[in-house]
């Protein structure tokens, strides 16, 4: 059982991740009410006979709506027009149906914070989709969520977006590659703490997200870092 309260090498254990996640979600709920809260999704490990004290899981923030002002040119599928003839003739004309005006297309975003056992750091997974469910391509996402590049840590050296299989959902999601995470977490802990590279576990995810969130346009208020 991991009893350490701090990490000094920029990495987290599974238990540490669970603790840090709760702390992060709680702080978010208090300080960041303009957003819905993060929820913890537990993983059910049916094969493991030994039950762990700390359940494994990930943090999920879903259905963040971004209204896009772009006119989307989705190519029309001509073959769809074939099926309509019979419908036109038979369906009763109904004046009680409001004819909707064309509105801005809404884009939905889901964010998951997942623990990577091989890198021993959290990883941010995200995806975007239209109201009908069609997934959004990365260039569309980038227009929706312009990343701010305030600090040195956000140079392309540290943030690299890749598309890989979500570890639990078996389909491709975008993720911020975890290669550099360990290193810049150590940098963060050096600058803030007095005792070398120590990072309290309860602050780990908050500090991590203060950097990573900016890449996907999710800022956290400064109060969360206290």
């Amino acid at each position: 059982m991991d009893s350490a309260r701090e990490v000094s090498d920029g990495r987290l254990t599974v238990e540490g991740f669970s603790v840090a996640s709760r702390a992060f979600a709680d702080k978010w709920k208090i300080h960041n009410q303009s957003f819905p809260p993060w929820s913890w999704v537990p993983l059910i490990n049916r094969t493991l006979l030994v039950s762990k004290k700390q359940e494994e899981g990930y943090l999920s923030l879903e259905k963040i709506i971004i209204l896009s002002s772009l006119e989307e040119e989705i190519p029309e599928d001509e073959s769809l027009n074939v099926a309509t003839d019979c419908l036109e003739k038979e369906e009763t004309v109904d004046h009680t149906i409001l004819v909707p005006t064309m509105e801005n297309e809404a884009h939905y975003y889901d964010f998951h914070i997942v623990y990577s056992a091989s890198y021993k750091v959290p990883v941010l997974y995200f995806r975007g989709y239209c109201s009908g469910g069609e997934p959004l391509a990365l260039d569309v996402i980038k227009k929706d969520v312009p990343s701010c590049s305030v600090s040195l840590l956000l140079e392309s050296k540290w943030t690299f977006i890749t598309q890989e299989e979500h570890p639990y959902l078996n389909r491709p999601w975008f993720k911020l590659h975890p290669c550099g995470t360990e290193d810049w977490i150590k940098l963060l802990s050096q600058s803030s703490s007095s005792s070398g590279c120590q990072m309290p576990i309860v602050l780990y995810l908050v500090s991590w997200f203060s950097v990573v969130g900016q890449v996907v346009g999710l800022r956290i208020p400064l109060e969360m870092l206290n």
Binding site: V41, L87, T92, H95, T96, S131
Partner: protein, 697 residues
């Protein structure tokens, strides 16, 4: 029916829209492939809905992967009841096996059938027990599991009330309730939403007492609510966000209210939220006037409407998920990702485009050919052509990494064919082909009947070299490398040569051809960058390639090498090619030596130095780089030979093949040898063949 001075406003409902999560299609595809097969009987599914939670965006009826009847175990716990944003709604899915049968589905009768179920649930009272049945829906679909595209059409059956319901008034709930009432209503709604037992019950009664206390009750408690209130409203989770219209669920709700309780005036409450709490500014309260049914029996199902429009048109929707579901595409993006990571983390100036577009010709599909192909794939090179005359023999698979035991059973597969098959099994996106052909060789004379076919092979080889960017010489004799070397020099194509001894190897890149196509023939041995050309495989030889195979003893004919050599040499050959491709001067890049003072990366190439020749030995575990200039007397790449080939074409080739001394005479090697022999003959008669060059794979 009250008389009005102004004509009654018909109540207009905002249509409901569907949203199908990608996960639903993934799960459905698995279900279809693993379990259903061609069975197209209707499937009961569950949709998910909830009240509007955003002032500018309506909520949808959503399908998720858990909408399908639970089949396999997943790592994530299934949605249990009590999820406030996933209120379950029963539905039915009709999936067809062809697009024609999709188009031929009788949509009207399917809609009628579902509407009938709703009507019957209203009549029987089931709708009071489980009100989610009022929002029952229907989906028709066609899943194309070869192209990973899905065509679908939702219908939200709504019973049409005739004459239509008219609207007396509609306003935000905060304007309808007093502030005390509003506070109590909000609190009651929030409690309803916070409790697992009621949070997914989408239709309810709002009862406000005379002292402004509100309570939320189940529909089935309607009788119990009578007389108990000052205001009684029919509340429901309204997905719509619009300020002037209620959402679709109200339609069947009004049909229920009319049928069960015969009310002429209905006060309704469109419940909407924001940030997880009741929002009475966004929520609406309205008063509707309903014409009671006259003489209609309970058996007559009213007409129904409800097919979802697609951007205002009566057509189905479709979605293509090939990018996330087609296994080949997934493999392609994974391989690309790997290379991009390499560039990001280690070699930012790496040019990946040149690698994915280069076309490689591999002459020889033996131990060297297989290793070269494997390493090329690792670099993301997709376009590979094999040329090999032989078949896979029983001794091959252990050393030739593309072949397996199956390839040698029976008469044995042609190597060129087996290699192609193997590459495609490793990575389906490879663009690869095989040519079963022997390479014409000098010193192996041919009869006049064979002439035409040999010249045909020469032409084929020449065309192959023209149509590729890089050629690997990986055959098992010295003389078989002559014609390709000549043709590469003629066409100025990158040629990489690899050869094996028993415990030593040699890998080299040929220099540029003596004349580029636009240059004047006078520019002997000078290339564009005005430095000397690098030599080719034959530049250092004082004898022309000749028959090295006949009359050898058996152990010399079957070439024997230490197994570790081919992987080493094959890998070096590919790394050498990549170095050339990344170098700004390409084929004209000068040769570096590892002995020169090179500290770390060369400025020219991000990959490091680019040698001309690499020779190594496993008996010493040593490796050196060498540099050799092109020779004016080379039998393969000198200006003399190339211009003779260009002048005389086929007759030149035939003469070289048939007459052992022709090439030596032509290039002046004959003269050179005479001159050398005329000197003091104290010299030990060394082997004229260089160890490292003559004894090949």
């Amino acid at each position: 029916m009250a008389e009005k001075e102004t004509p009654p406003i018909i109540l207009q409902f905002a249509p409901l829209n569907s949203s199908v999560d990608e996960g639903f299609w993934h799960s459905f595809s698995s279900l279809k492939l693993d379990k259903l097969g061609i069975d197209d009987s209707p499937i009961s599914i569950t949709g998910f809905s909830g009240p509007c939670s955003h002032p500018q965006v309506s909520n949808h009826l959503t399908l998720l992967s858990e909408s399908l009847p639970l089949e396999e175990e997943s790592l994530i716990g299934t949605t249990s009841h009590g999820n406030r944003n996933k209120c379950p709604v029963p539905g039915i899915l009709y999936n067809t096996n062809t697009v024609e049968s999709f188009n031929k589905l009788d949509k009207q009768s399917l809609l009628k059938a579902e509407a009938k179920k709703i009507w019957e649930d209203i009549q029987s009272g089931k709708a009071l027990e489980d009100s989610s049945v009022l929002s029952r829906f229907l989906v028709i679909s066609f899943a194309d599991l070869k192209k990973w595209s899905f065509r679908y059409w939702f219908a939200f059956p709504a019973l049409v009330l005739d004459p239509p319901v008219s609207l007396i008034e509609l306003k935000p709930a905060s304007e309808y309730f007093s502030s005390e009432e509003a506070e109590s209503v909000s609190a009651a709604c929030n409690d309803w939403r916070d409790s697992d037992l009621t949070t997914d019950v989408p239709f309810f009664l709002v009862s406000v007492s005379s002292d402004s206390k509100a309570s939320i009750r189940h529909l089935k408690d309607w009788e119990a609510c009578q007389g108990d209130h000052q205001k009684l409203l029919f509340g429901f989770y309204d997905p719509c966000h619009l300020p002037s219209n209620p959402g679709w669920p109200l339609r069947n709700y009004l049909a229920l209210i009319r049928s069960r309780w015969n009310l002429e005036t209905v006060w309704f409450f469109c419940y909407r939220e924001s940030r997880g709490f009741a929002d009475l500014n966004l929520s609406l309260v309205g008063q509707a006037s309903v014409t009671l049914s006259s003489g209609e029996s309970a058996e007559t199902v009213p007409n129904s409407v409800g097919w979802e429009l697609n951007k205002g048109k009566r057509v189905p929707r479709s979605i293509s998920l090939a990018n996330s579901m087609d296994p080949t595409r997934l493999a392609v993006s994974a391989v690309d990702l790997n290379l991009k990571l390499m560039r990001w983390r280690a070699l930012p100036s790496l040019n990946l485009n040149v690698l994915s577009s280069v076309k490689c010709l591999l002459l020889g599909a033996g131990t060297l050919g297989c290793q070269v192909a494997r390493t090329l794939m690792g670099w993301g090179i997709r376009n590979i052509t094999f040329v090999d005359y032989g078949k896979v023999a029983m001794s091959n698979p252990v050393r030739q990494s593309l072949y397996t035991f199956e390839d040698c059973v029976g008469r044995g597969e042609f190597k060129a064919v087996a290699a192609v098959k193997s590459l495609k099994q490793i990575f389906p996106a490879m663009e690869t082909s095989g040519v079963v052909m022997a390479i014409p060789m000098p010193g192996h004379p041919i009869s006049s009947q064979e002439e035409d076919s040999v010249l045909g092979d020469c032409k084929r080889l020449s065309d192959l070299i023209e149509s590729h960017d890089a050629v690997f010489l990986l055959t098992d004799t010295r003389e078989s490398r002559w014609l390709p070397s000549l043709l590469c020099a003629n066409a100025n194509k990158i040629a990489i040569n690899a050869a094996l001894g028993f415990d030593s190897y040699m890998v080299m890149r040929h220099g540029a051809g003596p004349t580029s196509l636009s240059d004047d023939m006078q520019n002997l041995d000078i290339n564009k960058t005005n430095t000397q050309r690098l030599g080719c495989y034959f530049c250092n030889d004082v004898v022309a390639p000749q028959d090295s195979m006949t009359d050898r003893t058996l152990d010399q004919q079957c070439t024997v090498t230490r197994p570790g050599l081919a992987p080493i040499a094959g890998a070096l050959a590919v790394e050498l090619l990549v170095g050339v491709l990344q170098h700004p001067h390409g084929i004209n890049a000068k040769g570096d030596n590892s002995s020169l003072s090179n500290t770390g990366n060369n400025d020219d190439s991000p990959l490091g130095i680019l040698p001309h020749q690499i020779r190594g030995s496993v008996s010493q575990f040593s490796q050196i780089t060498l540099l050799g200039q092109a020779s004016n007397s080379c039998t393969a790449c000198s200006e003399t030979v190339i211009s003779e080939y260009r002048k005389r074409g086929n007759s030149f080739i035939l003469e070289a093949i048939n007459h052992p001394t022709y090439l030596e005479d032509l290039t002046g090697l004959t003269e050179l040898k005479k001159a050398a022999n005329s000197f003091n003959l104290d010299w030990e008669d060394d082997d004229t063949d260089d160890d490292d060059v003559a004894v090949d794979l």
